[in-house]
């Protein structure tokens, strides 16, 4: 997978297996209409940036908690869909928030805070996926797994889904839901890198095609095409039924 959405904040090396779509805030700023009003989160981020620049770190931290609460669940949803591992998703989200706070000085209100934060989060998730691939090369897979051909991440997701409490569902319904999630995960894993990123961001991240275009440096109409193809492929893979 992987469309790299690096920016000046995370600025790490480009993965060898991914098309580079590096975009900097300077590149992004002209695209956004100046008349678009700032969202509440973006205004809050600007306030925090001012506090940090004035050295009022305690107040900045206090206000930053509001951003954390507002974006935490969405960030976890995105990170978990990328990583399929609850502990890793937890760490990735923490890292993203810490990185955002420590680099808040480089935030520019040309784009919504949500876009900036999501880019940082996705870059962190991509780094973790790459690290996991490197790590998995050294792990000998045992033969007694139920699905020997499944990748380690598939088995991880299956285990995560199996361990997840499913509320009031009866065992049969839980089993069916678990199988459905496993099929969905496998189908999403089969998407092409950019399609997958676009689908993740639009479907699980609740981002508009414009925002996704800003994040990964694509035209809005190109994002729409990727989204459409991804959804169509998923429907085909899942036989029209999720």
């Amino acid at each position: 997978m992987s469309t790299d959405v690096r920016n000046s904040v995370t600025g790490a090396a480009t993965p060898a297996d991914a098309p580079t779509v590096a975009t900097s805030p300077a590149e992004l700023s002209p695209r956004r209409p100046a008349a678009t009003p700032l969202s509440d989160d973006s205004r809050l981020a600007v306030d925090i940036r001012g506090l940090v620049e004035r050295g009022e770190l305690d107040e900045a931290r206090r206000q930053f908690e509001g951003l954390v609460v507002a974006h935490q669940r969405r960030a976890l949803r995105i990170a978990f869909q990328y990583l399929r591992d609850a502990a890793e998703a937890d760490e990735a989200v923490q890292d993203a928030f810490v990185k955002v706070f420590s680099h808040i000085g480089s935030y520019r209100e040309a784009w919504p805070f949500e876009v900036w934060f999501t880019r940082i989060l996705i870059n962190g998730c991509l780094d973790r996926r790459k690290a996991r691939v490197r790590r998995d090369r050294w792990i000998v897979q045992s033969d007694d797994t139920t699905n020997a051909s499944a990748s380690l991440s598939d088995r991880r997701s299956f285990a995560a889904a199996a361990n997840a409490p499913s509320g009031q569902l009866d065992p049969e319904a839980r089993l069916l839901a678990r199988e459905r999630r496993a099929r969905m995960t496998a189908a999403i894993e089969r998407l092409e890198g950019r399609q997958r990123t676009v689908f993740m961001l639009c479907h699980y991240g609740d981002c508009t095609p414009r925002e996704v275009g800003a994040m990964i440096g694509l035209n809005e109409s190109t994002v729409r095409v990727h989204l459409f193809r991804a959804a169509r492929k998923l429907r085909a893979l899942l036989g029209g039924q999720p």
């Binding site: 937890d90 995560a160 609740d206 989204l227």
Partner: protein, 218 residues
Amino acid sequence: MIVRAPHLQDDVLYDCYYASRRGDAVDPPSAEHLADCQACATRYAELGTFLNTLSEDADAEVAALFPADRLRAQQQDIARRLELIGRAARVISFPGRAAGHGTSSTQVVRTPVRVARWIAVAAAAGLFVGVAAGTLFNGSARLDATRDARRPGAVASRRVNTPAPARLASSNVEEAVVDMDEMFMSDLETVLDRPHTSELVAFDALTPHVRDARDFPR
């Protein structure tokens, strides 16, 4: 004749779905068509069901994995990590130095260590001084003995220092004593010239010496 609009393409249906999901306005011609065309409305409904199920499953999974208490714990973890930003890194001093810079309790704990260290240093110094003095003493004593034995006037001086009863003895007795002294000194010289290591004595016996050539009658 009324020309019916063609059916909506799939990509338009997806656009309509995501627009309505975000709460944005759906493209008016598409919305109008969906209202009029039963086939497209059915396709749209199927698509919506499929994508909604994907989202609901994902939401349910994440909600189950990250309940409210875990979210609170994560917020606390983030707050804790943010507290560390902007603070100087804590440097943990090396244990050896820490004894000098530590608090009073630390000094109390480390006092026996310091005493033990001084004791070890004193013991090492004493051992060194003892070895050096012993070497020096033995070496000088042996050197004096060798020098005395080899000095030509040593026997004469001894004879001069001989106690009074010896001088009162007859000349034969006196010569015999002198011979005995010379033999003794000769033996002493031989012993001192020989190796002191027992393992080398055998080799020494096989080796010709200068003293043998000197003692051999010409």
